[in-house]
C-alpha cells in the first residue's frame, strides 16, 4: 500500500502554535506515513482561523482516500465547513470534520489512518474520544 493512499489529517486551531504543536505530536506517532497539514491563526497572523489557509492545508494533506479535519473552537469548525464547501465538488464528499478534541483526536485519527483505514473508520476512531 503506497503512503499517499492513507487518509490525510488537517489540524485547524485558532493558534498557529497549537496547530504546529499538535502536528509535532502526530509526527512523533506516525512519522511520514500520513499526509499531514496544520494551520492556525487569521490572515494577519493573529489568533483566529482563515478559510483560504484551511483550503491550502486540505490541498497539502490531500489523499485520494480523503482528509479528516480536527478543529478546536467554534470559528475553526465554521471556517472549516466553509473551506470544504469551496473545495472542488469531486473532493467535498471525501473531507470530514471530526467531532473530537484537537490534540487527542489528531493523534488517534492519524494512528488509525497510518494503518490504511478508510475515512469513516479514521473519523469514528477520533470521535470515540467524545463518546467516553
Amino acid at each position: 500500500m503506497s503512503e499517499q493512499k492513507n487518509v490525510g489529517i488537517v489540524i485547524v486551531s485558532h493558534s498557529a502554535k497549537v496547530a504546529e504543536g499538535a502536528a509535532d505530536m502526530v509526527r512523533q506517532m506516525v512519522g511520514d506515513s500520513v499526509p499531514l497539514a496544520a494551520v492556525g491563526g487569521n490572515a494577519d497572523g493573529g489568533l483566529g482561523t482563515d478559510v483560504g489557509a484551511i483550503m491550502g492545508a486540505i490541498d497539502k494533506a490531500w489523499s485520494e482516500s480523503g482528509v479528516a479535519i480536527l478543529v478546536d473552537l467554534g470559528g475553526a469548525e465554521t471556517n472549516s465547513e466553509m473551506a470544504i464547501e469551496m473545495m472542488p465538488e469531486t473532493r467535498r464528499d471525501r473531507i470530514v470534520i471530526c467531532n473530537a478534541p484537537l490534540v487527542e483526536g489528531a493523534v488517534m485519527a492519524a494512528t488509525e489512518a497510518s494503518g490504511g483505514s478508510p475515512l469513516d473508520a479514521v473519523r469514528a476512531t477520533a470521535e470515540e474520544l467524545m463518546g467516553g
Binding site: 485558532h14 490572515a43 483566529g48 482563515d50 478559510v51 483560504g52 473552537l73 467554534g74 470559528g75 471556517n79
Partner: protein
C-alpha cells in the same frame, strides 16, 4: 441599482463597522474572545479596498463578491456567517429588487445563516436581530428605512438578558446573561447603515 448607490451602501456599512470596531470588540471581550470588532473591521476594509470592482457588478454578483471577501478576510466565525448572509442575498435577489423581493431574499439568506451557524432564534446571536428585522421588513408599510433601525436596535438590546446557546459565549453559560451579543450589535449597525443610505435617497 446603479454603481454610485452600491458604493454608498458599501461605504456606509464599512464606516459603521470601522467606527464601532472598539465597541464590538469590548462587547466580545465580555462574553467571547474579544476579536469581533477587529475581525469585522478587517473584513470591511477588504470590501472597501475592492469597492470599484464590487460596485461594477450587478447587485447579485456584488453581494456574492462581498460575501466571499468577508469569508476570506474576517478570520473568525463571523466571517462565514456574514459571508453566508451576503452570498445568500446575492443568490436570492434580482438585479433591481422591490421591497418584497428584498424581504423574501433576506428570509432565504437567514435560513442559510441558521444552517451555517446551526442556530435558531433566541440563542443570543446575530439572528436575534436579523429575524425581527426581516419580519418587520416583510410586513412592509411606510417609512421602512426609518423604522427598521429602531427594530434592529431594540432587538439587539433584547439579547442582553438572553443566555448564549451557540458560539463562544455559550461556554460562559449563565455568565453570558447581562451582556449584549456582539453579533447582534454588528447586525444592528449594518441595518442602520443600509437604512441611512435609503433614507438619503
Amino acid at each position: 441599482m446603479d454603481q454610485d448607490f452600491k458604493r454608498r451602501l458599501i461605504m456606509a456599512m464599512a464606516d459603521a463597522i470601522i467606527a464601532h470596531a472598539e465597541e464590538l470588540t469590548a462587547l466580545d471581550s465580555a462574553i467571547g474572545d474579544g476579536d469581533h470588532g477587529l475581525n469585522m473591521k478587517r473584513g470591511f476594509e477588504a470590501v472597501l479596498a475592492d469597492a470599484d470592482n464590487i460596485t461594477a457588478k450587478p447587485l447579485p454578483d456584488a453581494l456574492k463578491a462581498i460575501g466571499m471577501t468577508l469569508v476570506m478576510k474576517v478570520g473568525g466565525a463571523s466571517g462565514p456567517l456574514y459571508g453566508t448572509l451576503a452570498m445568500g442575498l446575492g443568490k436570492a435577489l434580482p438585479p433591481e429588487p422591490s421591497v418584497a423581493d428584498a424581504a423574501a431574499a433576506l428570509d432565504r439568506a437567514i435560513a442559510d445563516v441558521k444552517a451555517r451557524g446551526k442556530s435558531e432564534a433566541g440563542q443570543k446571536t446575530m439572528l436575534d436581530v436579523l429575524i425581527p428585522v426581516q419580519v418587520a421588513f416583510a410586513a412592509g408599510g411606510e417609512d421602512l428605512a426609518t423604522r427598521l433601525p429602531a427594530v434592529a436596535a431594540e432587538a439587539a438590546d433584547a439579547t442582553v438578558p438572553m443566555k448564549a446557546i451557540r458560539g463562544r459565549a455559550s461556554f460562559l453559560g449563565e455568565r453570558s446573561i447581562g451582556h449584549m451579543d456582539p453579533g447582534a450589535r454588528s447586525s444592528s449597525l449594518l441595518v442602520q447603515a443600509i437604512c441611512s443610505v435609503f433614507n438619503e435617497a
